[in-house]
Symmetry: C2
Amino acid sequence: MAAVKFSRQREAIKEFLYSRKDHPTAEVVYNNVVKEYPKISLGTVYRNLSFLVDKGEAITVPCSDGSVHFDCNLKPHYHFQCNECGKIADIEMDDADYEKKILDGARKHTDCGEITGHVTFFYGICDECKKKK
Amino acid sequence: MAAVKFSRQREAIKEFLYSRKDHPTAEVVYNNVVKEYPKISLGTVYRNLSFLVDKGEAITVPCSDGSVHFDCNLKPHYHFQCNECGKIADIEMDDADYEKKILDGARKHTDCGEITGHVTFFYGICDECKKKK
DNA sequence: AACAAAAACAATATTCATTATCAATATCTC
DNA sequence: GAGATATTGATAATGAATATTGTTTTTGTT
């Protein structure tokens, strides 16, 4: 049961997300999709973004400032956030040993249970903000 | 100006925070301090926790589930969160090269600007939750 | 010790992002 | 195309965090 039906709005949301390499928030997705579907509501955007996440077609990127961004890059990767403008960029670190190194390092230093994964966030200043100074 | 005055409530909040090795949320702090000061308000707890953070006597631990925890462990360290119960534990990783290794690794794979720091969160299952299964 | 100014308090109101509700509409199956 | 049901849009509800307001405490001064 719970058959999934097609919806233009969902398709538009998905299309927009996949057209961008940065990682928009629900708000940003709404502000763009509303141009094509002026009557779309914010709830629909949230609902469908969650839907994509549930289906495994997107992931959420929760930032330490409390904002939640959506990311259609499904390959395991890291994120960089600019302290100035808040922009997020991907860091593709395809070194196969990297994840293992980090986890093994952590496992040595704890007895709190079983470590299965980790989330790392890098911070700094992006090129654009650097130039402004 | 801006002289800091003593307050029993602030002291109680601080004392509670320092008495725990896990990392309570504002809510949890409130629920415990209210036992000693039944009339204390949630606002006071938030205000004083922020105050401690501003003074550098505590740090915030923003988790990917959106919750914000408070930590009185001032030494640089990592955190582990149990996927089952949400409990947070410290991971003391005093390997001096560790931070450098991680940052250098990331710097190799990006051109997005200057990386100045990182935040890493480990996930898994804690011993207690593991035993329950 | 009493006073007044400064700071902190408790309670409440407000904000903001996200989620839930529900009648109306769009999509799918036969 | 008709009936069944998933999805929408609009709005209300939620919940964490912050701001506001009027009242108490605390402190320094006389």
